[in-house]
Symmetry: C4
Subunit: 234 residues, 4 copies
């Protein structure tokens, strides 16, 4: 959240060069973890080892990237950690890393000259994708830690996804809930991050709807409901 100095050119170059490898490593990490968790009973010994290898390899890439960035920044380690809090958290919990890929998707779309989405639509797409990835990751982690716990109500991955959706929407039926300490910590994290992002989606949708109705008011000959292209920012 604190002010950050403009990046030196070498750091910019590093950022650009590492974009693709980091994205691939993020997907590999998530995929390796997902296969390890979801297919644990059907996986041969070799498959488990492969998954663990992929996960650890991806993590190694993240750590190396963090170290290079720390070096290039020329800051003392403690100060670097303080000014890059989000990066540090993501280093320790790499499951959160794929959420950053939404930014890359947005950038690729822009380079390909795709029609630029309006402000509210972009906030909705960005937050919506982040929420989906967060929910999937949380469902995966909670399932991993709950499935063997005594007295657990989350016994299939479907239960876990159902629980994550009910939590993100703040509905919270309570028919399935985590009972292990780790599951509950993940749940609290999901509430905290997810609700803020979902609030952004809802708020943007609401603003977009009101803008759509306002625009419609200004075109008196228009007999159309508020469908079609959402209004731009301005």
């Amino acid at each position: 959240m604190s002010e950050r100095p403009p990046k030196p050119p070498r750091q910019e170059r590093w950022d650009r060069r590492m974009e693709l490898p980091l994205a691939v490593a993020s997907v590999a990490y998530l995929a390796g973890y997902a296969v390890r968790v979801l297919a644990r009973d059907h996986l041969p010994r070799l498959g488990v080892d492969l998954c663990v290898g992929v996960v650890l390899g991806a993590w190694a890439i993240f750590i190396a990237d963090y170290a290079v960035r720390l070096r290039l920044s020329g800051q003392r380690p403690l100060r670097f950690v303080r000014t890059h809090l989000v990066d540090t958290v993501v280093l320790l919990l790499p499951l959160l890393r794929p959420v950053r890929m939404v930014a890359i998707y947005d950038r690729v779309q822009r380079r390909r000259g795709q029609p630029h989405l309006s402000l509210y639509a972009r906030v909705m797409v960005y937050s919506g994708l982040s929420v989906s990835l967060l929910g999937f990751t949380a469902a995966l982690t909670v399932y991993h830690h709950e499935v063997d716990a005594p007295g657990a109500t989350i016994v299939t991955f479907g239960d876990s996804v159902w629980w994550a959706c009910a939590t993100l929407a703040t509905v919270g039926y309570g028919d399935v809930t985590p009972v292990t300490p780790i599951g509950r910590v993940v749940a609290v994290g999901l509430m905290a991050c997810g609700l803020a992002l979902l609030g952004a989606v809802t708020g943007s949708f609401s603003s977009w709807l009101i803008q759509a109705f306002t625009r419609e008011d200004e075109k008196p000959g228009n007999g159309e409901g508020p469908r079609g292209d959402p209004p731009g920012a301005s």
Copy 2:
């Protein structure tokens, strides 16, 4: 969400001509489905066949309309599907179609020269009606799929409506919850669509209330509370 070119005149004419038939087909579809689901134990063989016939007939009309629109647009099918995502989803899930009727109601009111509602009131009415239709449709579908499931807690249509209301308000008591996969997928859809719309209702009401209080402040001789006509936009 993406930008759409202005409609050619032939498409405009088609839109206007199909308005009434599509509205009738939407109501017929919903009514046929509702009768089929709610009266299934009391309906003679012929009644069931009639309901299924009405539902399939309405669906055929939707498909024909979609095909004509695709033809008139002059676009390639894939591109048409991408630029008309909402229409495509509604084609596959025609139960969502009656929600569009709210727009028609609004247009009819306007043609009859009814007093124009203020911006916030219109957002509230539009979103409120959409939410009601969505909730009714979801309650119907969930009841249809849950009623015979083992271990189901939603055993009457009343339970299903009660569940839909508690879900839309994000209260989520959890005394009755869907247990089948299809029921849960419908529930997640209801949360996603419903919450955004309900957020629009709440946000508009809140903005309207603040405007009403502001307006009252500017009339110092007014001893009236914020009742009466809501303030217009701007």
Copy 3:
């Protein structure tokens, strides 16, 4: 919600003259109903009759007032009902009437020359009081209809108040929930009205907080946190 013509002077005079009697009748109605519901096991025969008498008497006053207003408006009955929807609903459900007393409280405060509250504070007080009255009324009605129902979880008035609070905050634990059809209809009404009002409270508080922080920014020598008087409107 629709536009309303300015009131003729005779109606204005009637409004002013009936203010106090209607307020007294509202309180009497709510008090009579509350005593009847809460003390039903400890009340002698005479007490029950008295409560019922007070309730019916207050209702008669409301009906008479509605009839006079209809007469004074010079409108046809059907049109009057349509343009005074809120009044009509309140006539049929007089338990909602005390909510209007919040407006009277506000007016009395103003006549006594009390320091005028800022815009957001007023929205918060008005909505907060309305929500409290609504919640109390709903808790009363639900308790009345649930207490003797088979399988009810709301068995004391405390349970009912606890349920109403959890519902209004959209927390919805689900440890106590209404099971009778009437109780559930009241619950849905409480969700609908209550959430909108509570959204207004939350939204106003949020706006007030941001304004307080903004104001603080503009006074650089001020070492005070955002306590003290909330900023005015505009």
Copy 4:
């Protein structure tokens, strides 16, 4: 909420002089209460007496401070209570007092010349810290009153924290809920205060996100996602 006259210089001086002692007393009160509640089974007789002594001593400081403020204000007691409602509530429920320390933290940061946070970031930090303290305090109090109640579902402090998080996020699973009257009153207080504060966090985050996206739009050459420093106010 009402307008407050500017503070006389003697009161200002008292405020500044008492800042540190009050902060220390607040922490001592909370710590004493926490140790007393959490370690009750492992604490020797002397430890319990020490905790109670610390709590009562801190309370005495709060009462003395309140009395001096009342004296310095030169107002009649009743009027002072009415114009300092928050201070009076905090005097009676000193567990809420540490929440005020967030303001002190902010002031200390500013004196040390730390980079000033942007408006939205400050609202988020302030509200987030307040919510955390409130939740911790509520979890502590509820655990204290529930742990020995018959039929309680909150049997460990972990359960209590889990319940407080689910309540603040309005998720409300209902797997653990307070059953004692005092526990439920605390829960209602937590809902009321917490939701408003959390609404401020969510609203600020949403506004910040939209501002970040807007700013990004204005820098067309920028290929970066909305990370980095949040935009300032205005």
